[in-house]
Amino acid sequence: MIMSDSPSSPTAVSPAEPSLLDRLNDFPDRLPTMLVKELRQGLRARTFVAVFLGLQLFLGLIMLIATSASGLNGAGEIVSRIIFLFFSLAVLFVQPLRGINALHAEIKSTTLDMMLLTKLNATRIVAGKWSAIIGQTMLLFVSIIPYLILRYFFGGMNLFAELIALCSIFFISCCMTAINVGISGNASIMLRGLLPLALAIGSLLAMVVVMEDFDEFLDFFALDRKSYIIVFFSMAGAALYLSWFIFSLGVSTIAPMSENHSTRNRLLGLAVIVISVIIMMMNQAEWFLIPIIAGLLAIPSTLIALTERQEMLPRVTLPFTKRGALGRLFGRFFYPCWSAGILYTCLLLAIIYTLLLYGWFLPKTSFFYLGNEEFAIINSLIGCMLFPAVCLLLLEKHIVNRIGVFIVLLVSCFALASAISAVAYDTDNQPALWIFCWLPPIQLFMIDARNIDEKNVMMAGIALNVILIVFLLIRAFMKWPTIRKAEEDALLMERQ
């Protein structure tokens, strides 16, 4: 008892028999600390136990029924469908949703501070949360293997396709979990609640559709055509790319200011865009697809870059300043702050506009020719990203959750544009849309409008985007003295 006659601090206590602590060997030291913590907690959680037992019970029952009726034709396919349905329900719906509160719970209970004072960093914390859920999903995956072996004896099984399909479902579950864990750090309950729910419902609906065309679904996963293989790997790459960025968003949310996670992500975004463009050009993809795909790939990294905080510690700039003028110039695009994020966005826009203008100036007979309509659509979509960024800077002092507000603004712009366009089309007064052409999504509705020349829409869109970019650049340059001060402090720190 602490009130004993001669209490002494833990530095002086002689170790007692470690019998009490024997069970702390349940997980070896080489496993990541966060994984051990999350597994200890997660395996005791009722959700996992209920899902695990429920899945075993249902599959066991189905196998029993199927075995007793094995004389029926097509029993094997029915069993396959049921295995897929219940496995998908468990790993695409229940398991990813377990990450919905992962980081917010830590933020709310102020346990993050204590973790960050240890050797854990933000990446390890988020990765631990993610890997623990994935570990449990893996347990579910492994637990259905005996049923698959049993199902094999019913005959008519496309083993390769079914295994690839199951692995793909597991992969999608990993991506969805990463997205849910990453977004769970956001302060807005709307954002961290609605996105995972939409993903879960979307995946359920997809599974219902798949069940209706189960044969086609398995045909696809047989991957016996080149086009299937391209689609398969493109979709996997896109899912991986998106989930990585949202996962990184979670890391940035909880990371202390002394950690820089932005530079790596921006470089990744830039590299993926450049490589994708080169691959598409080499494969002679339709030209209008190239800037569209480049633009879509740019969304995650620019969204994060435009919504970062401006405050920056000198030590974050040190790796750049150590490399002299070139390093500082590089930093202007890659520092973890929104003013550098604006320059980074402009860099990506320069790539996209180069592709757009190249296609637009080509003769109409050229394979790579890009028409006014395609140009206007892509230009409008670019404006849709720039407009909320400008609003965010105008409201800067009143905003804490920048990314949340950005997404709300983005969605609101689309909703407003849809409503205005609906009224204009209903009243057959489409030219009135010109009044609202400053709202970028409106331009999408103007392209198909009667009495509106798409070239004019394109020109108006370009003018608007130029204004938005100039505004953003001015605001970015206004923050350069702050960046310069951080760089000077970093050099001072280096000298000390």
């Binding site: 602490i2 907690q41 209970s109 001072l492």
Partner: protein, 337 residues
């Protein structure tokens, strides 16, 4: 090694227009226990969080054992134990697993990890609660668990923000006992609390903060011995007459104020810091027929001293540390020196 365990110089932390910490400077020597006192919102937690490298100063320097918290947070984190005023515990995690998690996170491995957890559990008397879920503990046990976690890496400096808040008297005594042991071990302890009398017993020095500024830094005894806001002292006077007689006598003497009636006499205030004046007043009381059985100066408690100090500040009689002029903070880049 730095001569001070903690050094804070011209520290500012602004949250927009709110000046949470406004030019604070102080030093705490190695091995001492320093109490940090202030009303809610005075800037205690912000200062402590900066020292724990969990927040960043808008301007100024904060060092732990010579390491700047901004430029060398990793070194600072290795040296400190941080116990926040409130912290959540995990669901589905027992006490022993909780400590094991932090031991793993601090880099302990194998047998060393298990022994360290056991040492801490024994020191904080958590062994009987080892298998209890950490989020189901009482407030007192939760604080012991928090202290245990903070001690896992055997820190040189322990920063404790309101560790006694919400504890019952027994748990408070137990916590105080633990802190005393740690102080005897030579650890530097920086502790904030609202229970000033307890701080007075434990601490070598007290820091008073108000409105983000240090208004007093000294030991508890000097505060207790100092005069009240108006330069007087309180005296306990016991008489054989009724307390009304004492009260009536006080009304006739301008330098003496009757403060409150007690069972046999009352509490008076003499508007002078000099003992000669007190002796003269006692003589007059006897001369005027009051049958005095006891007459002694009351030692002020720290709460009184603190409230007096706040009163002086409100009246502008005590300005505290004058913060140096604050440079432009629109370009917020926490400095390195």
């Amino acid at each position: 090694m730095s001569s001070h365990a903690i050094r804070v110089h011209n520290l500012y932390r602004y949250f927009g227009a709110l000046k949470a910490v406004n030019g604070v400077s102080f030093e705490i020597p190695h091995g001492s226990v320093c109490g940090f006192v202030g009303a809610n919102g005075a800037g205690k937690t912000t200062t402590m969080r900066i020292l724990a490298s969990l927040d960043y100063p808008t301007l100024g320097v904060a060092e732990v054992c010579g390491y700047n918290v901004v430029s060398h947070p990793e070194e600072v984190r290795r040296l400190i134990g941080w116990m926040p005023d409130h912290f959540g515990n995990y669901e589905h995690m027992t006490v022993v697993e909780y400590l094991d998690f932090y031991a793993r996170a601090l880099g302990y491995k194998g047998k060393e990890r298990r022994l360290r957890v056991q040492e801490i559990m024994e020191f904080t008397d958590l062994v009987p609660l080892a298998e209890r879920f950490s989020n189901k503990l009482s407030k007192g046990n939760t604080q012991r668990l928090g202290l245990g976690r903070a001690l896992l890496q055997d820190p040189q400096v322990l920063i404790m923000d309101e560790p006694a808040a919400g504890l019952d008297p027994k748990a408070r005594v137990e916590l105080k006992s633990l802190i005393r042991v740690l102080a005897q071990e030579g650890k530097t302890i920086f502790i904030s609390s609202h229970i000033l009398s307890e701080l007075g017993e434990m601490c070598d020095s007290l820091l008073f903060i108000n409105g983000g500024r240090i208004v007093h830094h000294g030991d508890a005894e000097s505060m207790k011995q100092s005069t009240d806001a108006a330069g007087g002292f309180l005296y306990d006077v016991q008489v054989l007459n009724s307390s009304d007689a004492l009260s009536a006598w006080c009304l006739l003497h301008p330098k003496v104020e009757f403060m409150e009636s007690r069972k046999k006499g009352g509490r008076i205030r003499i508007d002078s810091p000099h003992l000669d004046d007190a002796a003269e007043i006692l003589q007059r009381m006897v001369k005027d027929g009051l049958k005095i059985t006891e007459f002694h100066r009351e030692e002020r408690n720290l709460e009184d001293a603190f409230i007096d100090m706040l009163g002086k500040i409100e009246r502008g009689e005590l300005a505290g540390q004058k913060p140096p002029p604050m440079p432009d903070t629109s370009a917020f880049n926490p400095p390195v020196s």
